[in-house]
């Protein structure tokens, strides 16, 4: 029993709006957690630097801001890349 070609194939179908929405939902579902965890990672890195250099609380504060900034930039980059991809797909 082999299905005739094309019957079970979804290769050439156009993407539905639902599928597109589901994808963007999945894509940005982890952004919040990434933001929070990045800040915590850099907070601990800052504390570690403080312990080493005795510069408390400067390292910790700088760490939190650098972590938040970096996470924000990562999110921005991802959004821009997706935007460009969508634009390119629309132009095609």
């Amino acid at each position: 029993m082999t299905p005739e070609p094309g019957r079970f194939s979804a290769g050439n179908r156009t993407e539905t709006e639902d599928a597109r929405q589901a994808r963007s939902f999945g894509r940005y579902a982890g952004v919040g957690l990434q933001f929070a965890v990045s800040m915590v990672v850099f907070l601990y890195a800052g504390q570690w630097v403080d312990r080493r250099l005795g510069s408390a609380p400067v390292g910790m504060i700088v760490g939190v801001f650098v972590g938040a900034g970096a996470a924000f930039y990562s999110m921005y980059r991802r959004l821009m890349a997706d935007l460009q991809r969508d634009e390119a797909a629309r132009r095609k």
Binding site: G11, A22, R23, G26, R27, A81
Partner: protein, 320 residues
């Protein structure tokens, strides 16, 4: 025959209050003592409940070694691997994982055979096989292939296995005497780790050496000192972004299954707390929540599969 059946039913119904009183008698002495019915139901343990014909209609069996009168301990001793202490003894959830896997394998193999037989005989599947075909085709054509992208067929078997395994585990928790294995963080974490490996290997195969750019941020448009600074700052963030995905997958499934069961058990507990006509309210709420849980069992299996497919597609197309 019918008379015997009615007699048996009547006898059982008459025996119920007696059994309940009998059961309540020792509890009366310790009236002030609260009994936690929720935690033992949702957590893992060495005890398992089997259906039993006589009141209280269940028989507790010990999967490990008997200790004292009612105690039950792990069957095998701990294993030390470096700083870790592990125990591989069978528990309630392990048993239900095996029951789920065996049941799923049997159902799916028999369905596939029936599907082939019907298609050969009348040109199309019918009955249960047609239903499963509809689910499989929906997940494949609407969820996996559009999200994974080109050559997505290779990921269909793994993602479908995930979907049906999680669905079976979720549904096993809804039947009487059952236990939700997906309400155990170790089980969902294992599923998420396997998915994580699949995602990363898919990325490595699709991107080749370009895979490193999904972890290390090396922007050639920047001046070298800035580039190094950005590399040091951004690389941990990208790595965190990679690791948080499976963590979110694991926690989402675990929390949804556990929370639903806690709500359900709390309502069932309220029925026995009120002990009057007011009990009707939590009774209907428990029925409603059961229906909701049935929906959630399908929904969470679907979401796990959808997100896995999205993550695989995302890493395969990331060329920036």
């Amino acid at each position: 025959m019918r008379a015997i059946r009615s007699l048996f039913l009547a006898a059982t119904l008459l025996a119920l209050p007696a059994a309940a009183q009998e059961h309540a008698a020792p509890a009366e002495g310790a009236a002030a003592e609260n009994v936690d019915i929720i935690t033992p139901h949702i957590t893992d343990g060495f005890h398992m409940e089997l259906p039993y014909w006589a009141p209280p209609f269940y028989k507790e069996i010990c999967l490990g070694r008997h200790v004292g009168e009612h105690g039950c301990e792990a069957l095998w001793p701990d294993v030390h691997v470096g700083p870790l202490t592990l125990n591989f003894s069978p528990t309630k959830h392990v048993v239900f994982l095996f029951i789920g896997a065996t049941l799923l394998s049997l159902i799916m193999i028999m369905t596939a055979r029936a599907h082939a037989r019907h298609t050969h005989a009348i040109g199309r599947p019918k009955g249960f096989a047609a239903g499963i075909e509809a689910m499989v085709l929906y997940i494949r054509n609407e969820v996996i292939l559009p999200n994974v992208g080109h050559h997505g067929n290779g990921f269909v078997p793994y993602l479908l296995t995930c979907f049906f395994f999680i669905l079976t585990a979720n549904l096993l928790g809804l039947i009487p005497y059952g236990s939700t294995t997906t309400g155990n963080i170790s089980v969902t974490a294992t599923l998420a780790i396997i998915t994580f490996v699949v995602i990363e290997v898919a990325g490595m195969r699709a991107l080749g050496s370009g895979y490193l750019s999904t972890i290390f941020y090396w922007n050639k448009d920047l001046a070298l000192p800035i580039r190094i600074l950005m590399f040091i700052v951004m690389s941990p963030v990208e790595l965190v972004g990679k690791i948080t995905k499976p963590i979110a997958l694991a926690i989402r499934l675990f929390a949804n299954m556990t929370a639903g069961h806690i709500v359900l058990l709390a309502f069932i507990g309220l029925i026995f707390t009120f002990k009057s006509f007011v009990s009707a309210a939590p009774f209907f709420m428990a029925v409603a929540i059961s229906m909701l849980e049935l929906f959630v069992a399908f929904l969470q299996a679907f979401i796990f599969t959808l997100l896995s497919a999205v993550f695989i597609g995302q890493i395969r197309e990331s060329h920036h």
